[in-house]
Amino acid sequence: MTSPIQHCKDCVDLLGEYIEGTLAPERSKELEDHLSTCPPCITFLRTYRATRRLCRSALATEMPTELMSSLTSFLGKHVPGFPCSKSDTTTVVIETAADIGPKKA
């Protein structure tokens, strides 16, 4: 059995699951009851959410296209039948789409 939310500390402990939507509904309700009477916790929630948003904006990264090419080339040398170029991959996708259609007799 979970203990009731009495203080800000109890509230802060639950914020991670709350913002991800994984907190049990009755626990979320208790948390929201606390938030409705506690401006410091509302501020805390705002800044907790902002932390995630700002870090994502600052640190998001994409795989460089050169690295994709070198990985394809590497696997093409080591995996039999692995298509080595973009055009090969396109062909593969088309063939795959055909494969899932009706089989020829």
């Binding site: 914020l15 902002a50 870090c55 070198s70 990985l71």
Partner: protein, 222 residues
């Protein structure tokens, strides 16, 4: 000998959910790759390489190392494909292989402990009164000012510095979840942690970063 219920569960799997893009699901591609279809394996690589790259980059902290981890992980996965029985999701199995490869690489460079879970932790967090109420210093609202300064290089530097100061395992969990969008379950599989341990590290990392950002916003602008 009759199959046990557990064996039957392993043999009979529910049908694979159709993908929104109409492409074959991982399970179908894995089965074809297991029968020697290199093109099916190429589709699996195309589908998972970006997430695997982020995992490798976050764990090693180096693009060059991430590249080698990726090559090693996909080759290893191809060689072990006959052993993959489908009990776990293919993506989780792949993350685990890549994470092991990254850990081995870090160990060879003597930069890592045996696991990502045995590091001591001293993280900053909010301050509470003896009764459990937030101290005023922990409740300044800088969230409304954040977007105005988002474009400033200063904020970017502050974020990079704060993240770099987190202990390795906390930083890796935070980046994989909040920046790269992996699920708690995939992170737990990849890093050999329990899901509650992932959630705990994630929350404590966010609290520590929130404190650092609060200090940044409360300091006079340069």
């Amino acid at each position: 000998m009759a199959d046990t219920p557990q064996m039957q569960q392993q043999q009979v799997q529910p049908p694979e959910e159709p993908r929104a893009d109409g492409q074959p699901g991982d399970r179908e591609l894995v089965e074809r790759a297991q029968r020697g279809d290199g093109a099916a394996f190429a589709q699996l690589v195309e589908r998972h390489q970006r997430q695997l790259y982020r995992l490798a980059l976050r764990m090693t902290g180096s693009e060059a190392d991430a590249q080698e981890v990726l090559q090693e992980a996909f080759l290893n996965a191809y060689q072990k494909l006959p052993l993959f029985r489908g009990e776990a999701q293919f993506s989780s199995w792949l993350y685990r292989i890549a994470a092991n490869s990254a850990l081995m690489r870090l160990r060879r460079k003597r930069r890592a402990p045996d696991t990502l879970s045995d590091q001591p932790l001293e993280l900053s967090g909010p301050r509470f009164s003896a009764e459990g109420y937030l101290e005023p210093t922990s409740s300044s609202d800088w969230s409304q000012r954040a977007d105005d300064r988002m474009m400033s290089g200063e904020l970017g530097e502050a974020i990079n510095k704060a993240v770099a100061e987190l202990p390795d395992d906390y930083r890796t969990v935070f980046l994989l979840k909040d920046v790269d969008g992996l699920s708690n379950e995939d992170i737990a599989d990849a890093l050999n942690l329990t899901v509650p341990a992932v959630k705990s590290r994630l929350h404590r990392a966010r609290l520590a970063l929130r404190e650092k950002l609060g200090e940044f916003f409360d300091a006079p602008a340069k």
